[in-house]
Every structure is written in structure tokens, then in C-alpha cells.
């Protein structure tokens, strides 16, 4: 596709980016997210130690030149564990949201476009899955698939797709009666071409917003699953695992549990702020107002 500055889609994208960039908070948040992704990627090179390596003579060390953030109950380096832990939080959550989109988007699109019995059945399925408080169903599924990061991630995707499907369905429903769809039908385009070629591009923004908004919840849920023991398995250094392990030494060494939580809040907060701003920047009613500011 040729980059055409005058095409309406490109102009819309540029305007959105401009509005997004005007918010300092959103830009800082974006920077924080990039930083954490960089940490996650570079963990093996920037960590001073192997995160599972135990130093039996250095248990519960306070921060010192040898261990910048001290050590835990097995004498493992806290800094290395936290840096490696970023890998699970940053990438597993990305994986979960990606799978959610891959499952939810086509189901929502087909459901909204064809309607009728198919829609009825698919929507009742989403109702059923949404009838479980997310974490309980995820707990059950993750447990059945075997403890570990991949089954926890898959479980959360299986629990998360209905909300994505519903959003896409809503957009498709409101779009399918519009003139451009009717025009496409008149010139003889197939349902498949209309749905995925004409309508779906208009679902991109709501899907992106929902995806960014989901990231925070997914990070928290993943850590929660690890915390109760069905997610990442010790000695692997997930933040949820670190919080769970530190909990037993809370009275004397509260930092073991508290620090990973603060990092998690930072990441989740950044996602939420980026999501909020993105939603505003993509809202046609708000956008003009925000761009003029």
C-alpha cells in the first residue's frame, strides 16, 4: 500500500498520534512500558547473577555492592530475579492478549455479521464463560492443563476472548447497515470479502483499545495464578512467585514481597494510562477538542 498523506485512514492515524503525543502522562507511560520491555529482553545480559543460583552463605542479605537489592531466603540475587521476572509479566501477558484477539475477533465478527441462530449460540457461549468469575475458571483450566506459564496463559486467553468477541460483534452490528457495506454488496462482493475486507478495518481501533486495557488485568491475573501456584513454578522468578515466596518472611524482610508489587503497579498503571489516552485520542467526539488544546 502506498503511503498517501491525503488518504482518510492515514490522516486519521496521524491525528490520533498527534493527540496521543500531547499527553505527557501517556508519553511517560509509553516510555515506562518500553523500558520494561527492554529489561525483559535484556535480562540475561544485565542481570548480575543467574536468577535461580543460590548462595548459601549470603541469605537475606541487605542491599550491598555485591547484591544491589539484597538476597532472598535461598541467597538468590533479588535484582536478577526481578529483572528476569519482567520477562513473564511483559511477554506472557502479550501472548494472552494476542490469543484473545485471535480467538475473539473472528467469532465476534461472524456472530455480528450473520446473526440469527449462529449469533444466538455463540453469544450464549460467551454468556456461560462470563458467568464464571475469571480467576476461578482460569484456575481450573490452568490446573487441568498442568501447572506452568503456558497453561496459565492459555487458560486466561480462554477466559478472556468473550469480552473481545462482544466488542467486535457490537462494532460489526452497527457497521453492517451502513452505505459502504450495501455498496460493496451491490457490486457483488462476497460476505467474506465484505466482512474481512470492508468491515473489519473499522474494528481495529476498538480492538486495540480493548487489548491495551486488558493488558493490566492479564498481568495481575497471571501473577495471581503464579501466586497460588498454578502459574509459573518456582524456582523460576515470576513476580507473583517472588511475592508468594517473600510472604513467609514478611515480618523480617517485607521488601522481598513489596518490591515486585510496586513494579507490577508501575507497569499496569502505565498500560491503563496509555489505554485511557488512546481511547480519548480515538474518540471522534473528543479528538477535535483534544487536538485544539
Amino acid at each position: 500500500m502506498k503511503f498517501d498523506k491525503e488518504s482518510p485512514r492515514v490522516r486519521e492515524l496521524l491525528l490520533t498520534l498527534k493527540v496521543f503525543g500531547k499527553s505527557k502522562m501517556a508519553m511517560i507511560s509509553l516510555g515506562i512500558l518500553l523500558l520494561f520491555f527492554a529489561i525483559a529482553i535484556l535480562a540475561p545480559w544485565i542481570s548480575p547473577y543467574d536468577p535461580t543460583e543460590t548462595h548459601t552463605s549470603d541469605l537475606f542479605m541487605p542491599p550491598c555492592p555485591k547484591y544491589p537489592l539484597g538476597t532472598d531466603h535461598l541467597g538468590r540475587d533479588n535484582l536478577s530475579r526481578i529483572l528476569y521476572g519482567a520477562r513473564y509479566s511483559m511477554f506472557a501477558s502479550l501472548l494472552v492478549v494476542a490469543v484473545t484477539v485471535i480467538i475473539g475477533m473472528p467469532i465476534g465478527a461472524v456472530s455480528g455479521y450473520f446473526g440469527g441462530k449462529l449469533d444466538e449460540i455463540l453469544m450464549r457461549i460467551t454468556d456461560v464463560i462470563l458467568s464464571f468469575p475469571g480467576i476461578t475458571l482460569a484456575l481450573l483450566l490452568a490446573y487441568i492443563m498442568g501447572r506452568g506459564i503456558y497453561s496459565a496463559a492459555l487458560a486466561l486467553s480462554l477466559v478472556g476472548w468473550p469480552s473481545m468477541a462482544r466488542i467486535v460483534r457490537g462494532v460489526v452490528l452497527s457497521e453492517k447497515g451502513k452505505d459502504y457495506v450495501i455498496a460493496a454488496r451491490i457490486i457483488g462482493k462476497s460476505d467474506f470479502q465484505i466482512l474481512f475486507g470492508e468491515i473489519m478495518p473499522n474494528c481495529m481501533y476498538p480492538v486495540i483499545i480493548q487489548a491495551v486495557m486488558m493488558m493490566g488485568t492479564v498481568i495481575i491475573s497471571l501473577a495471581g495464578l503464579s501466586f497460588i501456584g498454578v502459574g509459573v513454578q518456582p524456582p523460576e522468578p515470576d513476580w507473583g512467585v517472588i511475592i508468594a515466596e517473600g510472604r513467609q518472611y514478611l515480618l523480617e524482610y517485607p521488601w522481598l514481597s513489596i518490591l515486585p508489587g510496586i513494579l507490577m503497579i508501575t507497569v499496569v498503571l502505565a498500560y491503563n494510562l496509555v489505554g485511557d489516552r488512546l481511547r480519548d485520542a480515538l474518540d471522534p467526539r473528543l479528538r477535535g477538542e483534544l487536538a485544539a488544546k
Binding site: R124, S131, A223, I243, L250
Partner: protein
């Protein structure tokens, strides 16, 4: 469309969903990589083919799948969830013992959340862009962004280890629980007239309830703020102001009523989210409720207990959403049109 028709339709839909929930859990039982007969009989019992055959037939595991399904639904409707392989008792008894603890915690969490969220949301909207507003918005967004189990640990550290306020569990060590009437310690202790127990239970429920309610608090506070701001822009509010009504009257009498519809709609959903959240929060505070039960069951590979608890939590969640929906249509006639 009449109100009655709407309610009946909604109930029917709820029943369909509950059957869907039952079916999903049934499918999951079939996916479990474990032979229930082997778990029930143990390695000793499995050596006796006659015994294995007897149990398999008794549980209809040799029948076609749809007969198994009917048998399963019948059992669930009769509250027959099998035996917990860990506590050795019937799962339904374990659940009955733990159910009030979770409900008491959720209700209390819900009350705390609403008592904090609605006033701060109102303050935030009334003093928009003032320090109060910034403070409450930052606080609620941070509250939402932190994992609830982590908040629980932090509260335990601050309030228990540093301030010596109250620890985990439902009562202090050495204190006997009140006699079982409702299973809610706060109510039972009052019925029995044991005020020391009442205050002890109150102290113990406060931290877990606050933790469990953090998400709901942040969410409701934000929702109340934006809903009130939206209403305050409406023409009828301008009219009220032009009439010369006091600002207090305009906000509390005219605007608030309409603004609170949005948060109220979400209450059912939030209550349900607390049932889910209780899984983690009860674990942190060793609160002997359904959430802690399911986690204990996970570690004991106790499938009957895990499945039954999931099923019960999902059914409570669905029913509470149903009730809220129906109440809501009675309160707000506009919903019926949509």
C-alpha cells in the same frame, strides 16, 4: 413490552446460562487426566476388579455420555457433589461450612467499597480539577493497578506487624467461634450476645474486606465521578441553577439521583468479581472460605472439591447478576425499551 414479560425472559435466559455453566463443568470433568474411580478406591482398591466394576456401574461411567450427563445434572441439583479426596467428607458439607465466610467477607467488602467510593466520586466531580479530585483519582487508579493479593500482604505488614491491629483468620487465636446460626460471625456473635467476639470478628474482617474491595472502590469512584460530571452538563441542571437553587440542592437532589444509576448497574458485576477475588484474598488472610478451599483443593489434587466450588461460585455469580438485572428494570423503566 410489559415488565412481567421482560422479567420472565430474563429468568429464562438465566436458566439457560446456568445449564451452560453445568455443561461446561461437565465437559471439563471429561477432560481431566485422572480416573475418578482410581482416586476413590486408591491403589489398594484398584486391584479388585469386582470393586472397580461396581463403582464404575454405580457412577454410570459405563453408560453413554448423555446418560452420564443426565446423572450428573441430577446429582448437582440434589447437591450431590461427591466426596472431597482431601477432607474425606462430602464436598457439599465442606462448602456449606465455608460458604457463609465468603459471603460475609464479600458483603462487608462491598459495603466498605461503596462507603468509600461513592463519596469520593462525588467529591471528585464537585471539586473537579482541585487537589481533592487529583488525590482521589490518583489513589483509585493506583488501587486498580495493584494486584489485590499484594495489597493484602502490604496491609498485613502495615496494620498487623507494625501497628498490631489484627492478624489473619476470622478470629484471634484462642477465641471460640460463636454458635452456628447464620454462619456470619458478625451476626451470630450478636445473637449470642458476645460483644468481645463481635469486635474481634469486626477487626479481623476489616483488612481482608478492604483488600477485596480495592478494585471495586477504584472502579466505582471513577464511574461515579464521570457519571456525575456528565449529568451536571445536562440542561435540566442548568435550569435548576438558573432557578436560583443552592448548589448543594442542585447536586444532591437533582443530579445525584441520575448519576448513581451507572454505578448501581455495575454493583452486581462487582459483587461477582469479589467472589472471584476472594480466591486470592482468602489465601493471603487464611480466611476459611470457599476461595481458600479451592486453593487448598488444588494442592491436594482434589478434583471433586475444585469442580464443585467452581460450579457453586459460578452459579452464585449468575444468580446475583440475574437478581440485580431484575431489580434494575424495576427501578429504571428505561432499560425495558432497549
Amino acid at each position: 413490552m410489559s415488565l412481567l414479560y421482560y422479567i420472565l425472559r430474563r429468568i429464562l435466559l438465566g436458566i439457560i446460562v446456568i445449564f451452560g455453566v453445568l455443561t461446561l463443568v461437565f465437559i471439563i470433568t471429561k477432560l481431566i487426566p485422572q480416573n475418578p474411580v482410581a482416586v476413590f478406591l486408591g491403589t489398594e482398591g484398584m486391584r479388585d476388579p469386582a470393586l472397580v466394576k461396581q463403582v464404575t456401574e454405580q457412577w454410570k461411567l459405563d453408560r453413554p455420555i448423555w446418560e452420564q450427563y443426565i446423572y450428573y445434572v441430577g446429582n448437582v441439583l440434589r447437591g450431590e457433589f461427591g466426596r472431597s479426596s482431601w477432607s474425606r467428607g462430602p464436598v457439599i458439607q465442606d462448602l456449606a461450612a465455608r460458604f457463609p465466610a465468603t459471603v460475609e467477607l464479600s458483603i462487608f467488602a462491598f459495603i466498605i467499597a461503596m462507603c468509600i467510593a461513592i463519596p469520593t466520586g462525588i467529591l471528585s466531580a464537585v471539586y473537579r480539577d482541585k487537589p481533592v479530585d487529583h488525590f482521589s483519582r490518583v489513589l483509585s487508579v493506583i488501587g486498580i493497578s495493584g494486584p489485590p493479593f499484594w495489597w493484602g500482604i502490604l496491609f498485613l505488614y502495615i496494620f498487623y506487624f507494625i501497628l498490631g491491629f489484627a492478624g489473619s483468620g476470622r478470629l484471634s487465636e484462642g477465641m471460640t467461634p460463636p454458635m452456628h446460626v447464620t454462619g456470619f460471625y458478625l451476626i451470630d456473635s450478636l445473637i449470642e450476645g458476645r460483644f468481645d467476639t463481635f469486635f474481634d470478628a469486626l477487626k479481623h474482617i476489616f483488612l481482608p474486606a478492604l483488600t477485596l474491595g480495592i478494585g471495586a472502590t477504584g472502579f466505582t469512584s471513577r464511574l461515579t465521578r464521570s457519571a456525575l460530571l456528565e449529568v451536571l452538563r445536562k440542561d435540566y441542571i442548568k435550569t435548576a441553577r438558573m432557578k436560583g437553587l443552592k448548589e448543594r440542592v442542585v447536586i444532591y437532589r437533582h443530579a445525584l439521583r441520575n448519576a448513581l444509576i451507572a454505578p448501581v448497574t455495575y454493583m452486581g458485576l462487582l459483587f461477582g468479581s469479589m467472589l472471584g477475588g476472594s480466591v486470592l484474598v482468602e489465601t493471603v488472610f487464611t480466611w476459611r472460605g470457599m476461595g481458600q478451599y479451592i486453593v487448598t483443593a488444588v494442592f491436594a489434587t482434589d478434583y471433586p472439591a475444585i469442580l464443585a466450588t467452581t460450579l457453586v461460585i459460578a452459579i452464585i455469580y449468575t444468580v446475583s447478576n440475574l437478581v440485580v438485572d431484575i431489580l434494575y428494570t424495576i427501578i429504571d423503566p428505561r432499560v425495558r425499551v432497549a
